[in-house]
């Protein structure tokens, strides 16, 4: 059979339509499309793709199963390493991970591993009509219990492994809903919440307990959790504290952190105000500051909230944008106006205290900095102003310090991250950590990988006491 050089495209909502709704943008493969795409994998013996995946999904094996239309076995293969294929298939930065190393990529497009992953996850979701039944066989309970802090991907994956090993696992989440960033941060049009709910229901059925409205550090400290009888603690509290630029006018009304904006929309459903009670300002001319996934999500959300102009203001050039390529392309297609090599220096407000303009400087790229990216340098005298009525600051987040300041003896790094070794051990015996709280903002799949590694370490610790 001749190799098809191009990826089988996935149908999408057209930009003109989708920018007015919150429905998912890519629509998924049909069976025929999936089999065709699966057949592009040449099952190469070295399969470098696997080493590009942080959790080493057995990519050739699951793709082979799709090709043979054995979807249940494809899902089983997947679940051995990756619990959330419906999530990762949609939002992994595949072009930097598994697909970056695919050999087919040398002669054409790499195999679309992510889309195939999504395909089998959606197949399973539909087959189960949104309610997965427990299919794993639990080993005898050990009678020991583990507390997990936060309900993001790190804790979710850690808890499943623990339950499978016979521990009881309790997740303590500060918010009133589970999922971490998957629920409060990433918008519906990129990751439908039914998928996250589906996985959380599944975990509950497996026996993972969820305690919502519980802020560790305030409701109880880690020490208290041990006193309550937990034998080990996993910290998966993420990197959720928003950063601001500390420039003039940043506290004017109408200026949001991306976290606030996205939390209002996703978690609190402000896009359905007044049916839902949480309000949000619907800007007509919106400036989004930043160039990562979060900035793209904020920009595309504000478009869907009715903005006429969305300016994406980023201080470097397009090459340095940390966002996934697909997100950048989608944003551009939808009409987000990119203002690259531009940096805000102050906001100007009206007499009521609402933002009405942002003043920016044009930038040029200078020497490479420590991260290997070219440093943006302001061009003197290049100030100009843009009329806006809303701004969303998406310049990154830091680990939330509540746990570190309330846990004596826990070693913390310069950015407030919890220091943990490759196995997830922190400076306190019996306390483990993984995900964004350790690495700073990273990806869903690395957080899940860290959760699994920590589960194995917790098991060793509880068995051997080391």
């Amino acid at each position: 059979m001749k190799l098809i050089k191009e990826q089988i495209p996935m149908k999408e909502q057209p930009p003109e339509v989708r920018k007015k709704n919150f429905e998912e943008v890519p629509l998924g493969y049909t069976k025929e499309e999936a089999i065709l795409e699966a057949s592009r994998c040449i099952q190469c013996p070295v399969h470098p793709c696997v080493s590009g995946c942080p959790v080493h999904v057995d990519i050739p094996a699951f793709i082979k199963a799709i090709k043979e239309d054995k979807l249940q076995s494809a899902i089983d293969i997947m679940n051995e390493t990756n619990l959330l294929p419906g999530v990762t298939g949609r939002i992994c930065p595949q072009e930097d991970q598994c697909q970056a190393l695919c050999v087919v990529g040398k002669v054409g497009d790499p195999v679309s591993i992510g889309r195939l992953e999504r395909y089998i996850a959606d197949w399973e979701f539909n087959k189960n009509q949104g309610k997965k039944r427990v299919s794993i066989s639990k080993i005898d309970p050990t009678g020991r219990s583990v507390a997990l802090i936060g309900s993001g991907p790190a804790s979710l994956s850690c808890s499943v492994d623990l339950v499978k090993m016979g521990y009881s696992a309790t997740i303590f989440e500060a918010f009133h809903k589970g999922g971490g960033v998957l629920t409060y941060g990433i918008p519906e049009f990129r990751l439908p919440k039914r998928i996250v709910n589906y996985e959380i229901c599944f975990l509950q059925e497996l026996g993972v307990s969820f305690v919502f409205d519980f802020l560790v550090g305030r409701t109880a400290t880690i020490e208290d959790l041990f006193k309550r009888g937990f034998s080990a603690v996993f910290i998966g509290s993420g990197a959720g504290a928003p950063q601001f630029m500390r420039i003039e006018g940043e506290n004017l009304d109408g200026i949001y952190s991306a976290n606030e904006y996205l939390t209002r929309v996703n978690l609190m459903k402000a896009f359905k105000f007044p049916e839902f009670d949480t309000p949000i300002k619907k800007g007509k001319r919106v400036a989004v500051i930043g160039g990562g996934n979060v900035a793209m999500d904020a920009a595309r959300t504000s478009l869907r909230m009715g903005a006429e102009h969305v300016y994406l203001i980023y201080r470097r050039s397009r090459n340095e944008m940390p966002a996934r390529v697909e997100e950048v392309v989608h944003a551009e297609e939808e009409g987000i106006e990119f203002m690259l090599l531009t940096n805000p220096v102050k906001y100007i407000g009206d007499e009521k205290g609402f933002v009405k303009q942002v003043e920016c400087l044009r930038m040029t790229l200078g020497e490479e900095d420590a991260s290997g990216r070219k440093r943006p340098v302001p061009i003197e005298g290049s100030e100009f102003r843009i009329d806006i009525d809303q701004a969303i600051v998406a310049i990154g987040t830091l680990p939330n310090p509540i746990i570190s300041i309330t846990t004596p003896g826990l070693s913390i790094g310069r950015q407030g991250e919890i220091l943990a070794d490759a196995d997830g051990n922190t400076s306190i015996k019996g306390v483990f950590a993984g995900g964004d709280i350790v690495t700073g903002s990273a990806t869903v799949i690395t957080a899940m990988g860290a959760g699994r590694t920590a589960a194995a370490s917790i098991d060793r610790y509880l068995k051997e006491g080391s």
């Binding site: 500060a174 918010f175 009133h176 919502f212 409205d213 519980f214 802020l215 305030r218 409701t219 109880a220 959720g240 504290a241 928003p242 601001f244 500390r246 940043e250 506290n251 009304d253 109408g254 949001y256 952190s257 976290n259 606030e260 939390t263 209002r264 609190m268 459903k269 359905k272 105000f273 007044p274 049916e275 839902f276 009670d277 949480t278 309000p279 949000i280 300002k281 009521k352 205290g353 987040t397 939330n400 310090p401 509540i402």
Partner: protein
Amino acid sequence: MFKIVRKNILGPEIVQMEIEAKNIAPVAKPGQFVILIVHEKGERIPLTIADRDNDLITIVFQVVGKTTTLLAKLAEGDFLCNVVGPLGNPTDIETFGRVICVGGGIGIAPVYPIARALKKKGNEVISIIGYRSKDYVFWEEKIRSASHRVIVTTNDGSYGFKGFVTDALKEMLNEHIDRVFTIGPTIMMREVSKLTKERNIKTVASLNSLMVCGMGMCGTCRVRVGGETKFTCFDGPDFDGHLVDFDELIKRLDTYKEEERISLETLRKEIQI
């Protein structure tokens, strides 16, 4: 969880509730608050923990918009969807000497646990509490039990002294005062802080910014204190009143005025039908 065990109407639009919150009540300290959600489609609103007893927390709130209206409609035996806490840093309670607690309106409820703790710590506690008029007076006895001296004011003079709390405070400041605590409407806290700044008396104001998360991850609650941006829920809610940019806070509190009006009107229509 979160059962409303007791409900009392304290005055016009002022409601007290005792809520079952097993995880929160035993650890709550003066100055801390909760965030609660009233129904499935509800918003998250902050309310101070005004008292606690075993597994119960007491909240006292004024009906001002949709969420507090819905909350006030709940009866004993009903449940709240969600309550998280205790949030924020406890008020710094030490032996300062002679202190004044200035509470205005609904802010009088959160003053109570602070005054009580200050008294217990050996301070001489003078409380100045201001109400709109006689009908609005609540918790006077509780405040008296937590203070050595109490001055009650009403705007119209229908009870206690006629005038604002600041009028009473001005006179008290002729005595030696070591510290002032103030909770109430933002404008009141601004004026209290202005008065005490003139005399260089350290003043702690408990701020009531808008909030969503209550744990330092959204930035809704940011306030400027001494030129720096702080998060009320995480760094506060208590701040040095002499350093707070109250005017910015007042403007930020008005961000959703229009939406709040729509919310309340929609609710009123629904209730009528």
